[in-house]
């Protein structure tokens, strides 16, 4: 059924209704920015339009990967609030901006205040759900997402929020179902939004061992919104899984041609290493480390890549643990808990690592790297049956993941599951 939904979407999208993705045409965010600026030329005191402009800038940042748009969004919000202090739309745009910048704690506080003021605003519930999930408060996130669905059944932000939550809980089929529904709801002229959803879906399927479908979705995303940085990056991740390193390098060089992200630099370093270009890899790792450290204070997500980098590549577990401590003060999401467990493992603090991993696994997330980490930690604490179980899960879930070969080698050290039970 879900595969049918994807196929149906691809067929409909292929019909090219509304000229989606026409080369040279302004993007949806550019159109919105242009529209808002035109209105403001005529009505410079229209506070509402400043909020619209801010949201358009945030979306443009996602379209291009250029974070300087966030500054422009902030300025537009400030203008709106200067004209009409306390206006709801500007405050809502402020939360949207905070989330885009991954400032989840502040976003959550401000969203809760807005929710108190207008309890039936669907988008505010969505902002709360996103922030709560990012901070690791999954139960609250679920409640908020349910409110979104109850207030307005079948709305697009609710499907997207629900899909992300289902993915976190390990309900891959359920996440796929919601992404499909979101796709069906997205109008074809919203090319970037369509490509974004396709990319998220492609990632979900790649991580769950369905590279062919993931590839089809990513190809579609790139056709819908050509040269989309997020799609190029995800396609490169797929090529890395496929061990097609030169192709991954090509994609990442294209993607990093403008506004490279911390994660795209890390991927590029891996691609260079795989392609047998150690000098380029070293240079890119250094670039990544410098950028990630610079951004640590600005964004939570750079720190996650950095922790994994210090554990897996730089072999500096102490530094990884230092960053983990900073991060875990605020966040208890599955990836923070996993990173913490993995850093503790690298520092040979296996019992503590086991405790953290238990918390991470309790959320229910199904991910090959997470399972591999769990297997390695269980092996280290002598729980061989559990180790075998998680390593097998990692391999079964995604036989081509970045850790699949290591997981296979590790799994080979253990007899088949059952012998130990």
């Amino acid at each position: 059924m879900k595969t049918l939904a994807i196929a149906l979407f691809l067929a409909v999208a292929a019909s090219g209704v509304f000229g989606a993705g026409e080369a040279g045409s302004p993007s949806p965010a550019e159109l919105r920015i242009e529209g808002a600026q035109k209105v403001l030329q005529k009505q410079p005191n229209r506070y509402q339009t400043y909020s619209d402009l801010a949201l358009a800038f945030v979306r443009r940042a996602r379209e291009t990967g250029d974070s300087s748009y966030y500054e422009q969004a902030g300025a537009a919000i400030a203008s709106s609030l200067r004209i009409a202090p306390e206006n709801f739309e500007a405050q809502q745009a402020q939360v949207d901006l905070l989330l885009a910048e991954h400032n989840y704690r502040q976003a959550l506080d401000e969203a809760r205040a807005l929710n108190h003021r207008m309890p039936d605003a669907v988008l505010v519930w969505g902002y709360m759900a996103e922030a709560e999930a990012a901070l690791g408060d999954y139960q609250q996130a679920e409640d908020a997402a349910q409110w979104m669905m109850n207030l307005r059944p079948g709305n697009l932000p609710a499907y997207l929020t629900g899909a992300e939550l289902r993915q976190d809980w390990g309900d891959i089929d359920g996440a796929e179902e919601y992404f499909s529904k979101a796709l069906q709801q997205t109008p074809p002229f919203e090319t970037e939004e369509t490509a974004w959803i396709l990319t998220r879906m492609g990632r979900l399927l790649r991580q769950s061992g369905r590279p062919d479908t993931a590839e089809a979705l990513l190809q579609k995303a790139l056709k819908t919104f050509p040269d989309y940085s997020l799609s190029l990056e995800e396609m490169a991740a797929l090529r890395l899984d496929q061990r097609l390193y030169p192709q991954a390098v090509e994609l990442l060089e294209k993607r990093n041609g403008s506004f490279p992200s911390v994660s795209s630099r890390l991927l590029a370093a891996r691609a260079y290493a795989g392609a047998g270009r150690p000098a380029d890899a070293a240079k890119m790792y250094a670039e990544f480390e410098r950028e990630a450290r610079a951004q640590m204070g600005l964004s939570d997500d750079a720190s996650l890549d950095l922790i994994n980098y210090y554990v897996d590549y730089a072999h500096r577990p102490q530094e990884a643990l230092r960053i983990v401590r900073l991060r875990i003060e605020n966040r208890h999401d599955v990836w923070t808990l996993d990173a913490c467990a993995w850093a503790l493992y690298a520092d040979r603090r296996y019992a503590e690592a086991d405790q953290q991993m238990e918390k991470a696994l309790a959320i229910g997330t199904r991910d090959a790297v997470l399972f591999y980490h769990a297997g390695a930690i269980e092996a280290a604490v002598g729980k061989k049956a559990e180790a075998s179980h998680y390593l097998q899960q990692s391999i079964e879930l995604n036989p081509a993941s970045e850790v699949s070969e290591t997981a296979r080698r590790a799994a080979a050290q253990f007899p088949a599951r059952g012998t130990w039970e």
């Binding site: 709801f88 809502q92 988008l123 307005r152 709801q185």
Partner: protein, 468 residues
């Protein structure tokens, strides 16, 4: 699921062509009707009053501002008083000032799109409805306005794609909900334009069944019957048309569209006094220029030149009552002037102004007709080609094109078009149905003469043999 009132297939999309009846209507009566004095208080009025009171107490309630805007739109539909659309816009702007992002704002933006449609701002309507869709509310209704705007812009395939999206994403197979009504009623119009009247009738009947089951507002159900009546009438099915218009009047006795539709039928049946009475009733509810134009023709038909003159004054007065009215009635005025051979230059200007925003086949048809009347026959032929591009089975389109072809000296093509027009509907127009028959007779005579001449030439040739 909100029901989006269809503005596309109203008097604009399926224009009521001019019929002749007598009218004793005075300007004073029109002004009363325009100002709405004496108009019956409806449930829409009650909703407006209730929402206004509510908003005095809760001025931050964006949903109520949206609902008030929607009620003004409905009132605008019921009365055809364009000032209600301005009031709707004001209320919707207040709603959007409070909340303009996220799924909560989709409804107000959709209603803004409706207002834009009502004011013939088609690009703006398209933009508003696309904005509404981009908010991802889960309600596909804005696709209806996307389709309507595209239909008026003349992008029929894209309009059909848009209408096809009018399905409940949670229950895509459900054919008994409001979306099925919106889809079928609009698809019916497209089917008609594509020359498939039986298909259009089938879809419209399905839409009516849903509208009745869902207990939609009387005005909406009556409008649906009117649409069915128009398709039947244009297909030459006077009995089916009468039945539909009567059904509409049974639901809403003040349905001015159905009153005028029935007047069309009576005119076609040559029951002029009945037609006049019905047009008068329609104008008493809503003084549409097309109704006044029809009465003008009827007055002339029954020899009341003085009354006809009054209708003419009335028509121009209504059309220029305010700048919005002027824009809304470009097409009606252009057609009227061209039909009656006065202000011909102005008729071209009006048609071209309409073409700036609207590129549907009926705008091309009117442009073709006014150009023909102004002697620009080649240009008229190009426009007529576009008017006929979809294969629409509408006798008046064929008649206009036939006259142009005849003027261009293409008798075979003209004959075929006149025959087609009369085959579709022998009573398609009070004056032009007879003119089409007369033209056919002339063409036949001309053919006979040409045949005789050809035979003579042939004989001459034969007799004389090769000259050299």
């Amino acid at each position: 699921m909100g029901i989006i009132a269809n503005t596309n297939g109203g008097a604009d999309a399926l224009p009521l062509h001019i019929r002749a009846v007598q009218s004793g209507l005075t300007l004073a009566l029109i002004l009363v009707a325009v100002c709405g004095n004496g108009a019956a208080q409806t449930s829409t009025d009650a909703a407006i009053r209730s929402l206004q009171s509510h908003l005095k107490i809760y001025p931050q309630d964006f949903k109520s501002y949206d609902a008030l805007g929607a009620s003004y739109i409905q009132k605008g539909r019921e009365t055809a008083d364009a000032s209600y659309y301005e009031m709707a816009k004001e209320s919707l702007e207040k709603s959007l000032d409070l909340v303009s992002s996220g799924p909560d704002a989709a409804s107000a933006k959709t209603h803004m799109a409706e207002v834009a449609m009502s004011e013939h701002q088609f690009e703006e309507a398209l933009s508003w409805s696309q904005e509404a869709l981009a908010l991802g509310s889960g309600d596909p209704s804005p696709w209806a306005i996307v389709g309507d705007a595209l239909t008026d812009i003349g992008e029929y395939e894209r309009a059909e794609d848009a209408y096809a999206r009018l399905r409940d994403p949670l229950h895509p197979g459900d054919e008994s909900n409001g979306l099925a009504y919106e889809r079928n009623s609009r698809m019916a119009y497209l089917q008609f334009l594509k020359g498939d009247a039986p298909g259009a009738i089938q879809l419209m009947r399905a839409a009516i069944a849903v509208s009745t089951t869902l207990h939609l507002p009387a005005e909406n159900i009556a409008w649906s019957h009117y649409q069915l009546g128009e398709i039947c009438f244009k297909s030459g099915d006077l009995s089916g048309a009468e039945q539909a218009y009567r059904a509409g009047l049974g639901i809403d006795p003040n349905s001015y569209r159905n009153l005028a539709g029935l007047a069309e039928v009576r005119t076609a049946q040559e029951k002029y006094p009945d037609a006049i009475a019905l047009y008068k009733k329609a104008i008493a509810v809503v003084p549409y220029p097309a109704f006044a134009a029809a009465l003008y023709d009827l007055d002339l038909q029954v020899g009341r030149a003085d009354d006809a003159q009054k209708q003419l004054q009335l028509l121009e007065f209504i059309s220029t009552l305010n700048p919005l009215n002027e824009r809304l009635f470009y097409r009606e005025l252009a057609l009227f002037y061209a039909d009656h051979n006065f202000k011909l230059k102005e008729s071209v200007e009006l048609a071209k102004k309409e073409l700036e925003v609207r590129h549907d086949i009926y705008t091309w048809d009117i442009l073709a007709w006014v150009l023909f009347k102004n002697g620009s026959v080649e240009e008229a032929a190009d426009a007529a080609k576009r008017a006929l591009a979809l294969g629409t089975k509408d006798a008046l389109l064929d008649f206009h094109a036939g006259m142009i072809e005849s003027q261009l000296g293409r008798p075979d093509r003209a004959q075929s078009l006149f025959e087609q027009a009369l085959a579709l509907d022998p009573h398609f127009h009070l004056v032009y149905a007879g003119e089409a028959q007369e033209k056919l007779r002339q063409l036949a005579d001309s053919e006979t003469r040409t045949d005789s001449a050809s035979s003579a030439n042939a004989r001459g040739s034969n007799l004389g043999g090769p000259l050299e």
